[in-house]
Amino acid sequence: MSDNKDSNPKQKQSADHKQSTNQKSSTDQKPPANQQPAQTAVLEPKRTSVGHETRRIDGPLKVTGKAVYTSDHNFPGMVYAVPVGATIANGKVTKIDAAEAEKMPGVHAIYHRTNIGQLFRVAPDSTFTAYTDEPRPPLEDDIIRYYGQYVALAVADTFEQAKAAADAVKVTYQEEKPNVSPKLTADDKVKVESHRGDAQKAFDSAAIKLDETYTTASQTHNVIELHATVAVFDGTKFTMYETTQGVVNHKNVLVQVLGVDPENLQVISKFLGSGFGSKITPWSHCALAGAAARKLNRPVKLVVSRKMSFHAVGHRPRTQQRVRLSAQPDGKLTSIQHDYFNHTSMLDDYKENCGECTSYLYSTPNLRITSALSRRNVGTPTSMRGPGAVPGLFATESAMDELAIKLKMDPVKLRIINEPTIDEGLNLPFASRHLIGCYKQGADLFGWDQRDPRIGSMKKNGLTLGWGTAGASWIAERFPAEVAIQLNNDGTARVSSATQDIGTGTYTVFAQVVGDKLGIPIEKVEVVLGDTSLPAGPLSGGSMGIASIIPATTKAIEKAVDTLLTAAVQSPLTKFSGAKKTELALTNGNVHRKDQPSKEGVPFETVMQQVNLNKISGKASSPGTFSGKKQSSMHSYGVHFVEVTWQEELARLRVSRVVTVIDAGKIMNPKTGRNQIEGAIVMGLGMALFEGTEYEPTKGAPINSSLADYILPVNADMPKMDVHFLEVPNTELNEYGARGIGEIGLAGLAPALANAVHHATGIRVRNLPIRIEDLMGEST
C-alpha cells in the first residue's frame, strides 16, 4: 500500500477496486449483513471514499493554527489556576499556610481541603461510561499517597501570578518513608487469569524449558498537548473544555465529582494533541478547575505542567513478569506459564493485564496465567497505548525467541509450529486470524531468509547487524455508539456524535464513511464531534473508535435515506411522485429508480429543494460487543521485523529498519492508518531503548520529570519503516470489516527489537529499557 501515491488517483481507484474483488473471494468474508437492496439492483461502479489515501480533513486547520485546542480557549474574566503538589510521597499534610500567597498580586484564592467545597467520589463502573482510574476526588483527606498529589490550588489573574502564589503556599507534612521500590511482590491476592491442563507438571517433566523474568519500566505518556481544563460556570451550568479521549465518560464522571445534574454540565473537546490513554479518564485537576470556577463564578483555566504530568495524570506501571515455557524437541509448546505483577497506587487497583494475549497466541495443552498487584507510593497508573498486551508481549515474545535459540530453530518457524487452530483460551473459533500470513509476508519483504542466526555474524558497512522478529495481537471490539446524520438541501451532509478525534484521523474517516454511504465526495460532509450535547459516541480508547461508529452511522443514514425517499414519493413535485419507496434508491448521491442507473436519477438535494425541505435527519445507535456471549475470538494481529546496527567499539546501538505487517481487517484510510503504525513503531523504539520514569527512592519523586531528562526518540532515531496491511476484512464487527489500528503497531515492537539486539550482541536484555550499560555488560 505504501506505494499508493496521492498523485495517481486513477491507479488508486483500480487498486481499490481490485481489493474489493479480493475481499469477496476471501475466506473471512461473510455475506454482508445489512446490505441495502437499493444499492445492488443495478450493477454500476459505486463512488466510494473508503479505503483511499485521504488527507486529514482537519489538516489545514491544524497547520494554519486555526484548530482550537482546549487550552486555547479564553473567556472574559478568566483566571488561571495552578495546583500545589505534595513534595512527599507518603505521609500527611499537617498544615497549609496560605497567608502570604493570598496577599500576592492578582491572587483570587488559595483553595485547599477546607475551603474548596465538597467533591464526591465516582460510583464503581465497569462499562466505561462513567469510569475513572482514580475515583477518589482531590482534597478528600490530608493523606498523601504519592508525590505531586494536589494539596492546594492557587487562582490568580495571570498564569505567572498563580504560579508564584502556588510556590508561596507553605505546606507542612508529617513524612513517612515512601515505597517506590522497583522490585515487585504480590501485595494483594494472586489472581488466576486463565488456565488449562497442568502447566507445572508439563514444565517439570519437559526436556526443553525456559524460566525467565522480564521487567518493563514505568512510562509517562508525555503527550505534546499538556492536560488542561478550561471551566466555565454560569451560575447553574458548567461548560468544561477538556483534553479528553472521551467527552461522554468525562461528563459522566464530572457530574458525579462536582455533584451537578447531567443537563448542567457539558464537555467539549474539539482537537487533541494526543492522549495515548492518559486522557481516557478525567483526573483530579478537572474537578479542581470546576470547583474553583463555581466558587469564583468565573472561567478558570488550568494547564497541568510537564512536571506535574509525571505525577497525577496516569502512567504505564512498571511490570515484572515471569515466563515459563516448555517444549518438545520439535518445537511444540507443552506448557506456558505467565505470572506477572504491576505496581499500582496505594488506593487504586489498576491492573496492567500483561497476559492479555497469552492464552490464545500459541497452541499449548497446558497453560496458567496469573496476575497480582504491588502497591507503591505512586500516582494512579492508567492505560497507555496497548495496555497489558504491550508489556506482556515483551515478556512472552522475548521468551519465544529465547526458546527458539534453545531449540536451534528459526524463530518464525517456532511460531508457525505453534499456531493454534482455535482460540484455546476461550475455546472459540477465530473470527479472523492471519498471523502466519503476516510472518510470511513480513519475512519476504524483510529478506529474513538471508538471516544467519549466529550471534554477531552479519555485517554491513563495518557495523554488526541484528535481526529480530516478534508477533503481536490486540483486541477488536466495539463500544456502544449513537450517531446523527443530517442531509442538507445544498447537497451536503452533517454527521455528529459525541466522540472525538484524538489526532488519529477520526474526523476524516467519519467523513469517508458518510461519503461512501451517500455516494458524495467527502468535501460535502461536515463532521461534528467532541461535544456532549451531541448523541453519545464512544471513547477513543482500545482502538475501537472507528469500528464502533460504523454500524450506528450506517443505520442513521438508512433512516435519513428512508425519510428522503418517502418525501420523494409523497410529494407531487418530484419525478418520483407516486412511485413506491421500495422501487427507489440513493446511489452516488442521486435518488433513482432501482431499475435504472443512478445517473438517470436526481441529486438528493434537488429532491429536497423540490419538496422544499431544509434538512432530513436520522439518528441511530449500535450496541457494544463487551456484553453478551461471544461466538468467536476476534483480534487483530501483526508482526514486526527489526534490524539494528551495533558498533561495539562505541557501544552504539541504532535501529536501522523495521518491516511491519498488520492484520487488522479493512483499512479505511491507508494514509492515516500507516501513520498510526509508524507512530507506534517509533513509540516502541522509545519503550525498548529509552523511556523509563525513575522514582527517586528517598522522596518517591519521579526524578526525570522533564522532556530533557525523560528520553524519547527524536527524528534522528527514526528507522526506515515499511508498513503493510494484509486487509482481510471480517464483517462481524461492522460491514466494512474495519478493526482498530491505534495500538496494534506498538505491540510486539519492543521484543522484536530486543531479539534483534540479542542477535547482534549476544546479550539478552530482559529489563526495559535496553541501555548502553546493559550492552557493555556493566548494568547497575
Binding site: 522522596k699 527524536v714 557493555m776 547497575t780
Partner: protein, 333 residues
Amino acid sequence: MKQFTYTKTSEINSAVQEGSANKTAQQGAEIRFIAGGTTMLDLMKLMVETPNKLIDINHLPLDKIETTSGGGVKVGAMVRNSDLAHHPYIKSHYQVLSEALLSGASPQLRNMATTGGNLLQRTRCVYFRDTEFACNKREPGSGCAAIDGDNRMMAVLGTSDKCIASNPSDMNVALMALEATIHITGKDGDREIPISQFYTLPGNSPDVENVLKPGDLITHVSIQPMPPGSNSTYLKLRDRASYEFALASAAVITQVKDGKIAHARVALGAVGTIPWRSPEAESVLVGTAPTAENFRKAADAALKDAKPQTHNKFKIELSKRCLTHALKLVTTA
C-alpha cells in the same frame, strides 16, 4: 520564577559596573547577565537561579569572529553557537570546535546560545535542578542527593564527597583541547585566563564553579592556531541519536609526523566535574605510533583516577571507547 528587574545595555563598561554590585558571581548571585537565556531563564523558572536583576547583554558589541595576525581567532562572547559552528574559518581550521557545537542541543537553542553563555552553562544534575532536593551546589551545606540517588549522568573524574555533578558542555571540551584563552573585563580592568585555569573543581565548595568575580564580563574567547598538519575531531556518545547531553565525549587534536604522534591534545566531556583536559593521555600519545593499542593506553591513562558512583560505572569504559575511537578517526582522516 521570582520577580526581578531588567536592564539593557550596549556598553561593556556599564554592564561591568552594574554587575559589580553583585555579592558573588557564583551560585546565589543577585545580579545576572542574560545572553541567549537558554540556561538562565530555564533555571529561573525552576527557582534554581533567583536574581533580583537581569542585565541584558545581547546588545554589547561582542558579536564578531575575527582572525588574528598569527592565524588564530578571537570570538566575541555574544557570537551565537550556530554562527560559530558554521563560520568557514572555524570549519576549516577548528573542526573540533565546529563539530562540538553542532553536536549540542538543537538548532533553535544553538541560534540563541552564545559563546559566553555556553562557557557558563550549569550542570544537568536533576537534583540541582529541583529545589525539593538537597544540593550543595545550589544550597551550600544542604547535602548531595545525587550521591545516594540516581547518578547515571554524573561525573567520574574530579568529584568530591560534596558534589559529583558533571559539566554538560560540548563546546567547552573542544575549547579545552584547543587551549583557548578567556578574555574578561572586570571592575579592575581587562584580564586573560587560560581555560585550563578558568573552571574550579567542586572540592568543598561546589557552588563556586569558576574564577569569575562580581562584575566580570566575558568579552572574548581567543584560540591559537593548531600546529600545521594536525587534525581534530569531536565525538559524542549518548543514548539517543540527537538532542541529548553526552554520556561521554572526546575532543582530540593530533599531529602525526613520520609515523609518530608529534602533538596531542585530549579533552573529555561528560565524565568530569569540569571540561576535562587529560595531560595523562597526551603524554602517553606523544612519541608513539598511532595504533589502536596506544590509543587504548592513552584512554586508560586518562581514566585511571576515575571514581564511579552506583549507577555510572559504565561511563568509565564508555569514555575510554569514545577517546580511543576519536583518536582512530582523527589519525586516519
